[in-house]
Symmetry: C5
Subunit: 375 residues, 5 copies
């Protein structure tokens, strides 16, 4: 009743990841029980080549790698539901068990680690689902000499634009090596933060209008949802920025200086995103202030109406109460001290006129006090 | 009705820039669809020369450069509506495609980048439009040996004072090289922040008066607008300061130590601006406190009036109600237990006097409680 | 009565540790008076060995160490109730008196200190007791060449998973030295923070629902409890992170580079924990906001009902009061100025209809003002 | 009326400095139009000398300098109303035009700059005027070999104590060089912050008493004034501290190590001032909390009185209303169902006793609820 | 009356120190006018010696020093009321006048300064007086080769435990030099912070109970007092920590590496104290929130009672008012339109039953709204 509101679908929960139990051995690869069967993709490309064929097993991939030793290869693994395959990957591409554990336990902070055979990069893809909730997926990259392996838990394809640039041969994609592809993927991830923030910015503008026009409990929940989204975004972008900075400062054969030039641009974007997130956090905080002040304001409105009505009618009711008293009509020496007004033919009219005058005076006072204003 | 207020024109929106879609190729120069046709200007100057002639094409500019190889040249491009021209510029002046992308996508953070052929400087010009809204434009500079190229999206001229100093040959403008001109432009940009802040400071003072005198919902919106403006200003000035610091620390043939001496002054100004912005943010926060306390205070006023009227008249109304009861005039053993006052000739006067005494006592109590004070 | 609520069992107190009195000599080992009799355990292990036998005295331990000089040994001391034993330990294993003082005074901050004969590591194990309170125990480790000594005040076993990995020979436990065991213990400790935080996260979600549905004073206490728990967690995790960072940067014979690789992972976990703690602190703060706004909202509801009832009935009561006045029925020139309505056969019906009309008008006004809405 | 209060004289405005228009040439010396005619002073001193003669022109100063080449000279310029004089000073003492610009534009942040011929130090003197407002003046120092030039806009003398120490030959003033005089001046400036802060501390204590005893709208304005003063003080002291730190770290022929020893003490004082400012800011914030809670508390008081009076009398008024109803005295089968109480000789007494009992019960309930307490 | 509360004795003032007037000469030793006559103590100790004899003059001290050149000497000066003695001390022990100024002006921040003849250490001793107020004394130490001079303003002895350890020869006190004594004194000072904080922690727990049970204005004052105490403690401990850190990093003949090992422990304690202070500050802030919400809650309670009573009785009073109207009993065509109920024998009973039904319905509504709940 009183403060109860119906559940709204835009409540955002902080997702609970399944974690390995405390004290368990490091480097054990435990895909979640409901993990999906892996889908494998390989895209091989070079200055004049672009092959994008379906593959069904790791052996298909190995034969492809053997066939085109001079091309760059982008191996994609989507779904972690096959532990054997994952262990085989570790074996074939010299991936440390602890790295694969980080890949499979998809709640890692964005980070970059250098290894002798590759760079290991963890990045987080945040997207908005159809129901308005934020989805926070993990993408892991192994950037080697001419092979890049990308691994993700879900089947969704976040990189169609990159893929189409590869296909069309647009830009430098085909000329440069896999480190440029890695840059393109990371850049695409960071670029997805902008529409998210624009969405939040729009919602903040709408909310501000709503709060000034017609604040209600749902507005409060919307503020909470945005606050939580910004908390998550900030946490992610902060780590993302550190990671890209690490990549910029690393001296590795797997990351060209040429590519770092482009990566610097991505770094600038993460700074821009962080600026926006911080600004939006401040705006969200001030929306909360507006909400609270609106609630106070409505109370003020109600109190004003109540006060005006009460202070006008309470004295009037007293007056008519007076003339409802039943004092006996007694005369002492011909003078009636008991309510002589009741026995005068102009008594009623006099009382009514007095009450009208009283109301007029009160209204004047209220008007001067500004109680009759709208706001 | 209740909390609804009419839209006010001073709402500040965070401007939405058109962004390139996520995942698109870097270094692609996409001027916005509604971009204006570029206007070209060239100003050539030296110790004894000052030529400010209109140009219509890049070839005019090249002929000018060839004609006066010993002069300094300031090439201005206003409007990005001609992609060919932009690409030709890249080609002729050795500008990297990614730099030109940053020029055209006018939502860059202020920054400074060193390149072999020039310094690339992005700066933001914030100005107040006629309708009171903030305009946040981007100015990009390429500072070369004896050529400086400035590029901006709109036709507005922010640099008339610099231009007139060049014309008049005042100061060191003509003697020093284009790096001094670059300093002059940056300094002019930072100097525009001061009138903006003074405007905000004036508005804060007005608002404080208003909040103490006659707070209303519009005041709240004004506070919000100032808050947002300060958020934007801080974000910009922070980056501006970092950029100028980068310029000060860079060791480049395009930036003389002599000019850095002047630039240090500009750096001091950015610090001053940041100090002011921080102070104004704190003052804005305390204005919000004043607003909220004013709302509470008004409520207090209203409650006090209601309480005084009610506590005076409610007991009185009870008393007159008592003597409105219709108990029958029965005598037992000659004694009338049922409301004998009604049958006394002094009953009415007695009741009235009692009520007057009651009111006097109540008023005394309220006066001691301070309920009859104004504030 | 009014604001009094019954004590709830989830109040969290900041535990008071017994401290040595100010000015007392450093390095004095004063076990608390209620300290428990020490229990000793020794686990000896190597590639092919795993011995986990009960021991009753230090001499048992020494004979074991002498017997298997090539194995790694994990000596556990639980309970500090025997000062002689502690001093003997200092003597036998070259532990400085000030270190042992830190072990016994179990309110140390997590820290790492290098000594010539071992690394001294203090860590804090936070766990939730059956009654929902947080327990904050201290675990001290001395990491030597092939001996690790762990000391704790209580008998609880926090390391069953590590122990079972040792027993089963799973992972690298048996192959690597005692520094790997130290890592495993520290990692197990940090891993226990995650279930704690998940518990807090669940409680925060529940609380948010509760606050939107049916906020009450108990919710406020729950918020306070979570706030205090997060304060404690943050303080601990912050120091824990610094400690692990110190371990990573130390160059010591007691800490292999190989083990540091794993420890880096633990470091990442502490960062993750800190991120979560910070996020939860922000969410807790916003729950407080929701609570306060809910309280205001309920007040608003109550005021609205009171205002509607009052503003409807106060004027009506005035009207019926008017017709309760006892003005005499006097005619002057055949005209009765004193309440002629009372003497008209349609007077009553007219008054009733007027009152009904008045109520309808008032309800319309309230409906437009939104006072009849639920929220 | 309602929230309106009369203007109070202690409102603090952030002073608006006249600034040079954006884009104007650097190094131009534009004294404000209302600048005062400069007054010149020269004090020449040495171990055995102290000459403090009035001077009327720069040539007087030059003749003095030529006359006593072995003495230290303190040249004071008060008032900037003579542009020729300022330019002559630049010329004669090798002062850069940009330095003189900073001297004349008296809104500089405290700073220290090294030049080949002198140290340029800007410091801010904050003092409280007679009307209680803060005055924030700029003092610029040029510290040369044996000449120190101090320049200020106003005629006020802030350094009488230093001057009298020079006169009396007390301390080390005469023995040491002009760098010690510079230290003495800076130290005197920093020392003026302490009485300012003590004044603020006293006002905070008074305000706290006032807020607990008799909070009103004027208290709120006083809090605002103190807040603004602290904002200004912090901004100034922060920069002052940085400046003195720069002086301590500079390696210059114009600043002896001996003098730096004393300057270290001044540095300690700026830290103390900053500590105090921060503490006072926190206390001011908590005074705001007390104010807001006092406003709520007063409202509570008023509501309690209203509630007690209303809940006592509203039921009573209902009861007497019941016996004011005019039901006809009809008997059915000898039983009167219509208000038989009215026809009983003890009806009135019974009703009165019932009402008294009701009031007693209500008062008991309120007493248990604590509504009858003072606070 | 309304908001007025009687003064409580636990108000904490920030103590006003007498300061030297601005601009006065540095290094002047001005003991306060009410300074006490100095008391002198000397304790001489070595491995086999411990002499603790009363002294009356500096010459006694010098003869003692001359007598036992191989012992360590602790000279204590309590009270600064004798300027000659202080100057003699400066002279005899090579103390700089500016150091002695800092000793006498007892409002110094904790600090450490290295000099050629000694280390100069200023520390602050905070203790709780009998009346519950914090006392904040200054202790200055000069740590020389085998002489340590401690100076304090008041006669109180804060170091009885250290003294008794010296007497008893417990620990390392006698073996180690005066730097170990300095460590012991500093450690004793830092240790006194813990009981202070435990006291505050206890008060916070009590306050939390009080705020949930029976919040009142005195609670608010108690929160303020704790807030101010924490502000002072933080300021002091922060500086104390920096000072000990300086001592740890100093390379001085007056501070052994051996002693630094112990001092590191003291450093850890200051960190612990700071952690606690920060936590307590956060808890204090949340207590303020609880207080404010309790005030709102009480208001809610009162409003609910008022609303229930009013909304029940206001309609009833209207109804009885209706039947108190005096419409004439007129029949038209045998039908009485004027209040026929009054003339029915069941009119009264019908009205009473209707009113009872109305009350029952209202109570049901309130019960569903939760207005009849306690909280």
């Amino acid at each position: 009743m009183s403060g109860r509101i119906s559940k709204i679908p835009l409540r955002l929960r902080i997702r609970k990841h399944k974690r390995t139990p405390p004290g368990s051995s490091p480097g054990l690869i435990h895909p979640a029980e409901d993990a999906r069967e892996p889908k494998l993709f390989i895209t091989s490309y070079g200055n004049d080549h672009h092959l994008e064929l379906p593959v069904h097993s790791l052996s298909d991939i190995h034969s492809r790698l053997a066939h085109y030793p001079n091309l760059s290869h982008w191996i994609e693994v989507r779904g972690f539901g096959n532990r054997n395959l994952l262990e085989q990957l570790c074996n074939d591409f010299d991936i440390h068990a602890m790295e694969m554990e980080d890949v499979v336990n998809t709640y890692q902070r964005p980070k970059m680690e250098e290894h002798s055979r590759h760079l290991f990069v963890v990045t987080r893809v945040i997207s908005r689902c159809g129901d308005g909730l934020l989805k926070n997926d993990q993408l892991s990259l192994f950037v080697g000499n001419n092979v890049i392996i990308s691994m993700q838990e879900h089947y969704d394809d976040y990189f169609e634009p990159v893929r189409s640039r590869l296909r069309g041969g647009k830009g430098l994609m085909r000329t440069y090596g896999v480190d440029y592809l890695a840059y393109s993927l990371l850049d695409a991830v960071v670029d997805t933060y902008f529409p998210l923030l624009e969405h939040i910015g729009d919602k903040l503008d709408e909310l501000e209008d709503e709060l000034f026009d017609k604040p209600n409990r749902i507005s409060l929940q919307k503020i909470q949802v945005i606050k939580r989204e910004l908390i998550i975004l900030r946490r992610t972008v902060f780590a993302e920025r550190d990671k890209i900075n690490d990549l910029l400062r690393t001296v590795s054969v797997f990351m060209n200086d040429q590519t770092k030039l482009y990566l610097k641009d991505t770094y600038d974007h993460t700074i821009q995103v962080m600026d926006l997130v911080e600004s939006y956090k401040e705006i969200t905080a001030s929306l909360m202030d507006i909400y609270l002040s609106s609630v106070s304001n409505r109370m003020n409105q109600i109190m004003k109406v109540l006060a005006v009505i009460s202070t006008i009618f309470i004295p009037l009711t007293f007056i008519v109460g007076v003339y409802g008293m039943n004092f006996e009509d007694l005369k002492i020496d011909g003078v009636n001290y008991n309510m002589p007004e009741l026995h005068s033919p102009y008594g009623y009219i006099g009382v009514v006129l007095f009450m009208v005058a009283l109301v007029v005076v009160q209204l004047l006072v209220f008007w001067r006090k500004g109680w009759l204003d709208k706001s």
